[in-house]
């Protein structure tokens, strides 16, 4: 390593604030660049999966209603 101590690393002979702020800002932007599309993609995937589940549940309930309602319909039918 080039520096002798941790405080020398932070201070960098007076240039520490400049160097460290430049690196900190760059790191923050890089993290944001990577995280942003990952979060967006995850949200879109979750929404799509929820939509599929909702549709499947609706289809299942329609199917069970059709099967379950046949006898009652016969019972409710007006007597001739």
């Amino acid at each position: 390593m080039y520096f002798d101590s941790f405080s020398a690393v932070l201070h960098m002979a007076g240039h520490g604030p400049y160097v460290w702020s430049a690196y900190a800002l760059t790191s923050a932007i890089i993290v944001a660049l990577i995280v942003n599309p990952l979060v967006k993609a995850r949200a879109a995937q979750a929404a799509l999966r929820a939509e599929v589940r909702r549709r499947e549940a609706a289809a299942a309930s329609v199917a069970s209603n059709v099967i379950g309602s046949q006898p009652s319909e016969v019972e409710d039918a007006p007597k001739a």
Partner: protein
């Protein structure tokens, strides 16, 4: 050759390709960026004239280099979208714009921070710096222009034209330090002839440039993938992909 082009233009194929590529590229990019930063900050020797402030070079130059290369990628995607009406090229063009803008912003701000202890000023209307500021406006312009249109096909066309016209700025940025020699120093790395930088500083710099290229490809691919998930949420192939 053409089969690859056809595959690239197919959303289902590209979605799978992007997911796999991102899985590999994410750890590579993060590792390269970390090693590059630690090398540049702690292990590279100090510059005899600029002192430690020169360590900013390890992020400033890679960000600037990739922001310029990225503009060509965006303009090329715009050309493909304009001429062959390939939807995926339009997606690629818009995926590049925010990454390019962020990298140009990094180059400008780290340059300003570096300028203060070295030149004694944060900002100067030097040709290199001013043309980089125009590059930032071009990237932001593409983003804003797309949002300004309700008709997204017209928006894509306008963005493609803007990005193509903007390419005239790139050679000006490259050449600005030679044409109008003022405060900004000329390039230290040369493809032909000997570089004006010692190997102990050159190697970490090259590693960082490579790391920023990895980052660029990674974020563009992630942006395109997120965009596909948004625009194809009604598509059967995506449903099959997720379940």
């Amino acid at each position: 050759m053409w089969s690859i082009v056809h595959k690239m233009g197919s959303p289902p194929w590209f979605y799978r390709f992007a997911s796999t590529l991102a899985k590999w590229l994410l750890p590579i990019a993060v590792a390269a960026l970390t090693v590059g930063a630690v090398w540049g900050l702690l292990y590279a020797p100090v510059d005899f004239r600029q002192g430690n402030s020169y360590r900013i070079i390890f992020i400033h130059v890679p960000a600037a280099v990739v922001s310029l290369a990225g503009y060509y990628v965006m303009a090329f995607a715009g050309l493909v979208s304009l001429v062959w009406k390939i939807k995926m090229a339009d997606t690629a063009m818009r995926a590049v714009a925010p990454v390019g803008a962020a990298l140009t912003f990094i180059a400008l701000v780290t340059g300003a921070i570096w300028g203060k202890p070295t030149w004694g000023t944060w900002w100067v209307w030097d040709a290199r710096i001013t043309s980089m500021l125009i590059l930032l406006f071009l990237y932001l312009g593409v983003i804003a222009l797309f949002e300004a249109y309700d008709n997204k096909a017209a928006a894509a066309k306008a963005c493609a034209v803007l990005s193509l016209v903007g390419t005239v700025n790139i050679p000006i940025i490259y050449k600005s330090v030679d044409w109008w020699y003022s405060l900004h120093q000329p390039a230290s790395i040369k493809f032909t002839g000997e570089s004006a930088i010692d190997a102990s500083m050159l190697y970490p710099l090259l590693l960082n440039i490579g790391a920023f290229y990895c980052l660029f490809v990674l974020v563009v691919v992630l942006n395109m993938r997120a965009e596909l998930l948004q625009t194809h949420r009604q598509s059967a192939w995506l449903e099959k992909e997720l379940t």
